[in-house]
């Protein structure tokens, strides 16, 4: 359950934005979860709920809108664009390593066309935050 650490990071970032933007209430936070990390959406939603500061009124009504972002890679040597299926292409150890540190994709995944480990992960790497919606007291 290292997902709690990532959820915690999301909360920290949202608090920072709420402070910077002087939001009285945070209502909705878009959270994009990259498929590369094989994070279970329900686990992550629960983690977000667990680490949410319970005594901070600004977060009383917040909704986390989770979406799963498919992985897109591009191979440098051959230019192929592809979406690896971590579960099918890496063994259990590799998939777990990628779960912790997505860059280990370069250790355990290969370009389907030329088998190179030299690819860029264009999308679907890890957890990022999209729109944050809230209200100010004015």
């Amino acid at each position: 359950m290292h997902e709690y650490a990532l959820a915690d990071a999301v909360i920290a970032a949202v608090r920072k934005t709420a402070a910077d933007e002087r939001l009285a209430r945070v209502l909705r936070v878009e959270v994009r979860v990259g498929a590369l990390q094989s994070i279970d959406e329900h686990t992550f939603a629960r983690a977000l709920d667990t680490v949410r500061p319970p005594d901070d009124a600004r977060f009383a009504a917040v909704e986390f809108a989770l979406s799963l972002v498919p992985v897109r890679c591009r191979c440098r040597p051959c230019g192929a664009e592809y979406g690896p299926e971590v579960g099918a292409e890496a063994d259990a150890h590799g998939a777990e390593a990628i779960h912790f540190v997505p860059e280990l994709a370069h250790s355990y995944l290969r370009c389907p066309r030329c088998q190179s480990p030299d690819f860029d992960i264009l999308e679907g790497r890890g957890v990022t935050i999209g729109r944050i919606e809230g209200e100010r007291d004015e």
């Binding site: 970032a13 777990e96 912790f100 250790s107 355990y108 860029d120 944050i132």
Partner: protein, 238 residues
């Protein structure tokens, strides 16, 4: 698009009293050896000590310390692997000796990920073992861990000094705190004092060339008994 990891690094390092990066810019000068000996020396003095191997494509601290690889404990994050009294974090825990060919962006992402999920907890000292070169990780350390102090390793070699000088110039320009120069593999007179003077830096002292280190690799107790470890203990800025 906000990267949530950036917001949590300071929290993760909040319980760490002091962060010392062992650097030099050049490979093979003994950065990892000194980093490991420093971590062992600190732990032996009763300091709560962590060691973060930031040479991500060529991690060796687990080999030097003889720490077994294998996934770290995970619960509300990941825990450094305790070995010989030192909490170790290294990509090798996850990937063993499988090569990790990582370009710059991947290096930055991996460092950020590990900074965001590792629970160092309460530490007196966190040692960062830096990779060679003035690349992504050197720049990321300055960016993400600005309070880090630098222990600059050098050796009595002309090409090493040429390279270490680049690191010192960059650290000085950025105003990064330099603890001092440590001359490793010392074998007599050398240009280290002159190099230190050039940058107004302290020479912490020397660690002799000690061929016993090779046989002690992988065995913390044997490492502790080397002349190199004794020399380091005498000058370690702890």
């Amino acid at each position: 698009m906000i990267d949530p990891r950036l917001a949590v690094i300071d929290t993760r390092l909040a319980g760490v009293r002091r962060i010392v990066a062992v650097t030099g810019g050049k490979g093979g000068i003994g950065k990892s050896t000194i980093a490991c000996l420093l971590a062992l020396a600190a732990a032996d003095r009763g300091l709560r000590t962590g060691l973060f191997d930031l040479d991500l494509t060529s991690p060796t601290d687990h080999v030097i310390l003889g720490a077994p690889t294998g996934f770290p404990d995970e619960e509300f994050g990941i825990d450094p692997a305790m070995h010989a009294g030192v909490g170790l974090m290294s990509l090798a825990l996850f990937a063993g000796s499988t090569p990790a060919p990582l370009r710059g962006d991947a290096l930055t992402n991996a460092v950020l990920e590990l900074l965001a999920i590792t629970r160092w907890g309460e530490l007196d000292l966190l040692v960062l073992d830096m990779p060679p070169g003035l690349g992504d990780t050197a720049l990321d350390a300055m960016r993400f861990v600005p309070r880090c102090e630098y222990l600059v390793v050098t050796t009595p070699s002309t090409v090493v000094r040429e390279t270490v000088r680049r690191t010192l110039r960059l650290l000085k320009e950025r105003g990064a705190p330099v603890l001092g120069l440590l001359e490793n593999m010392q074998v007599g007179e050398s240009g280290t004092a002159a190099l230190a003077a050039e940058f107004g830096a302290t020479v912490l002292g020397s660690v002799p060339r000690d061929d016993a280190l090779e046989a002690a690799t992988g065995d913390p107790d044997a490492l502790r008994k080397t002349a190199a470890a004794a020399a380091l203990r005498a000058i370690a800025p702890l």
